[in-house]
Amino acid sequence: MRPFDYARASNEAAAVKSGAMAGTKFIAGGTNLVDLMKNEVEQPVHVVDINGLGMNRIERRIEGTGGGVRIGALVRMSDAAAHPEIAGNFPAIAQALLLSASPQLRNAASLGGNLMQRTRCPYFRELTWTPCNKREPGSGCSAKDGDNRMQAILGTSEACIATHPSDFAVALAALDGVLTIRGARGERQVAATDFHLLPGKTPHLEHDLKAGELITSIYIPDAPHARRSAYLKVRDRSSYEFALTSAAVGLDVSGGVIRSARVAMGGVGTKPWRSRDAESALAGKAASEATFRAAADAAMRDAKGQGHNDFKIELGKRTLVRALTDLAGGAA
């Protein structure tokens, strides 16, 4: 680990100010940052501890045209998952959190940090290996011709095929989450679906935070498809593992007809993969196996296998069909 200065921020304004210094990283749980600092993928010069900032409440709020829940960015994954407000009104969020990592990691990791976690691509995480455009722009991508079983099939580019690792971010994208971001000039709101960036030619740019900016809270609006939502995760072992494929789904069904649907997929995209094509294939249709299959085909229409991960295309479809079938209330 490279040497750094450590400081505790006592208020948001001070955090944002110190965060704007070159080479600064905020630390909350540290579960991802400390790991990456050890292998020197991350080399911050200043580390600012934001755990003293509060930002740890879960509150029911009326915002805009309806209600929702506002969750402080420092709320720990375990606390968010166990909160009755989230487990009751946004089950896909609670399930995504509980299917992530381990109890120990969930106790430490914050929700803001979860959104900021970096890819598990082995070529990114290992300095002594070969080039990585995300770690060192312009150096090349080792994953494309390397072991790419865990890599993405959607949103990839010539420069990068790394999968976004978060489960929570997938559920948040599905349920129209909105992030509140604080910077030197005040607060702004960003839709969760706009927060993470496609790699394109600049895979080192992963999100919409400017220097010094801090995610302070996350808002999730109430909706019938949020209250009836679920997260299904398929992986190599039944627990404590990243997704091969996953699906966050929400359905509002009335009289057997889908009034509104939400679909986002994990393990397959270079960012949390909201599929509006799948949602269009579901809306207004009967909640049937044929409809769910059509939605799965739509979700994977643009998928491109890299060789070792070609199986993710079919597995992704089946994951989505099963998630929708279970949510709709049994075998379709």
């Binding site: 680990m1 040497p3 750094f4 200065d5 450590y6 630390i27 749980g29 540290g30 579960t31 400390v34 790991d35 600092m37 050890k38 580390v47 501890d49 755990n51 375990s78 990592a101 381990s102 109890p103 120990q104 990691l105 106790n107 430490a108 627990s239 404590y240």
Partner: protein, 207 residues
Amino acid sequence: MTLPPCYVPLDDEDAPFEPTRRGFLIGSAVVTASAFVAPLLSEEVKPVRDANATKFALNVNGKTRELELDPRTTLLDALREHLDLTGAKKGCDQGACGACTVLVDGRRVNSCLTLAVMHSGKKIVTIEGLASNGALHPVQAAFVKHDGFQCGYCTPGQVCSAVALIREGHTKSDDEIREWMSGNICRCGAYVNIVEAVKEAARNATV
């Protein structure tokens, strides 16, 4: 019969000294090294205090311990290398095995993935702090009774994790225990007995 010092039984309180494995290893290392390095240390190479060291205190197992450490020091390294609490183990050092699990303010965390300096003012409990008045913690006793280990390397982490798990109440079925203990890997595969140990300790905790 007089035994050589290294054969003094570990449970003999009247033993002249405690020949712990680590104490022995440290002692050996110092003796070995000093024969070669001592002249250098005294004249040319002086231990330099880390320029970036920071002073803070940790409350570990009920005692306040003053430290002066480089902020890079993880909680696990602070415990093992600076406080001589070597119960928490460094397995993977990247949050994938759970051998380093300790309790921070009653919550189980991976001590390898957090910086020690972030924990001043918090109450840290390690495996060394679970027994009280010479009696094993009920979870420790249950692990012994059910043979919940083979090599023992992951056991301190398993036990700390199980203590928290029982408090969290995730012990309603074998499957639930397995899921909520999944952050602790046992490469010997003692899982069946670990589940039995956790079940018994949980049962007794609620009686």
